[in-house]
Symmetry: C2
Subunit: 211 residues, 2 copies
C-alpha cells in the first residue's frame, strides 16, 4: 500500500468509527468514507478486526510523532501542555464519538489479543512520555525531589482513562478533569507548589476554564 | 415478582455477564444460571436490555445499602476504607469478568438512554458518598480547610473509573491505583499530611501492598 492509500483508509476508518461506533461498524461503512472500494479494503485487510488493529497501530505512530516534542519552555509547562492536549484534543468536534468507539474497543480488549497488545503499547507510550517530562523536571529542580516519575506518570494515565470513560458513560466533560490535573501538577508535583502553605488552590488561568 | 425471584434472576444475570460478557449475552444464558425458565424471564422482562436496566438499578440499590455506613473511627479511616472496597472488592474472583461487562455497558451508554440514566445515578451516588465523608472530615478538622468535598469526590470518582478501565483494557491491576489513592488522602487531603514537609511519601501500611 502507498502511504496515500494508508492515510485514506485510516481517515475513512476514523470517520466510520465516529459515525457508526465499533459494534455496528462494517467494511462497507469504511469503504463509504473512503475513495477505495470495499474490494480494495478486503484485498489489504482480512476483515474489520484486522483493519482496526492496523488503525490502532496507525494511531499510536501518529501519537508518537505528534508528541515527540511537546511545546513549552519548562518541564512544568510541557507537562501542562501535554495533558491539556490529551484531555481536550484540538479536534473536539468528533471527539465524543471517537472516544465512545475507543471505549468500545477497550471493552473488547479481554476478548481480542491484538487489540489488547495495541492498547497496551499505547498505554506504555503515554506513560513514557509523561515520565520523561517529569524526570526532566526533576533534574531541573522544578518538581519536588520525592516525586517518582514512573509512579506519577502511571497515576496521570489512570486519571486520563477515567476522564475518557466518564465522558462516554455519564456525559461528564473531561474539561473538569483537566482543571484538577493542572492543580495537581502545580500543587502536588511542583517544588514551589502549594505544599509551601497556600493549600490545593491555584491561580493558574486553567482553573478559570468552564466545565 | 417476589424478592426471592428478583434476587435469583439478578444473581443469574451477574453470573451470566461474568461468563459471556455483555455483547454475547442472551436471555437463554441468564436462564441457564437461574432456577427460572427463559419463559419466566420473558414474562418479567421485555428482553436483555430491559433486564440489564433492572440489573443496574439492583446494583445501585445494593451499593447504597452496603455503603450506608462505612466502617472506621474517623473520616480519614472511612475514606480509606470506602475507596479500598471500591478498588479491590472483596469478591475478587469474578471481579475481572464483571468489570469487563460493566465497561461494555458503559461503552453502550451513548446509544442507550436507560443505561446512561442508571450509570449516571450510580456515578452520582458514588460522588455523594465520598463528598459526605470528606465534608465530615472537614468539619472534624481532619482535612485541610481548603479541600472542596464535591471537587475532591468528583476527582476520586474519575480515578476510580480510570482504574477500572485500565484493568480491563491493558490488564493493569487496580491495586496500584489503590496505593496512590491512599497516598493522595494522606498527603494531599489530610490537615496533618505531607504538606507539613515530608513530601508525597507515606508510611501507611497500604503502600506496602503488592500490585
Amino acid at each position: 500500500m502507498t502511504d496515500e492509500t494508508i492515510d485514506d483508509i485510516m481517515d475513512a476508518t476514523y470517520c466510520a468509527l465516529c459515525k457508526h461506533g465499533y459494534a455496528e461498524l462494517t467494511m462497507q461503512d469504511i469503504a463509504a468514507e473512503s475513495t477505495k472500494s470495499k474490494g480494495t479494503l478486503h484485498y489489504h485487510f482480512e476483515g474489520k478486526g484486522d483493519l482496526l488493529e492496523s488503525f490502532l497501530e496507525y494511531l499510536l505512530d501518529d501519537f508518537e510523532e505528534r508528541t515527540e516534542t511537546v511545546p513549552g519552555e519548562t518541564s512544568v509547562e510541557r507537562l501542562h501542555e501535554f495533558l491539556d492536549e490529551l484531555l481536550t484534543p484540538s479536534d473536539a468536534e468528533s471527539a465524543d464519538e471517537f472516544r465512545t468507539a475507543i471505549l468500545e474497543i477497550k471493552a473488547q480488549s479481554p476478548y481480542n489479543a491484538a487489540y489488547r497488545e495495541r492498547l497496551t503499547e499505547f498505554d506504555r507510550a503515554l506513560r513514557d512520555r509523561i515520565a520523561t517530562i517529569v524526570a526532566d523536571g526533576l533534574e531541573s529542580g522544578e518538581f519536588r525531589d520525592d516525586v517518582d516519575p514512573d509512579e506519577t506518570a502511571d497515576f496521570l494515565v489512570t486519571v486520563f482513562h477515567g476522564a475518557q470513560t466518564r465522558a462516554t458513560a455519564v456525559d461528564r466533560s473531561p474539561e473538569r478533569t483537566r482543571r484538577y490535573v493542572h492543580e495537581y501538577i502545580d500543587d502536588v508535583l511542583r517544588a514551589d507548589g502549594a505544599s509551601g502553605g497556600d493549600g490545593v488552590s491555584t491561580n493558574r488561568d486553567h482553573t478559570e476554564a468552564g466545565e
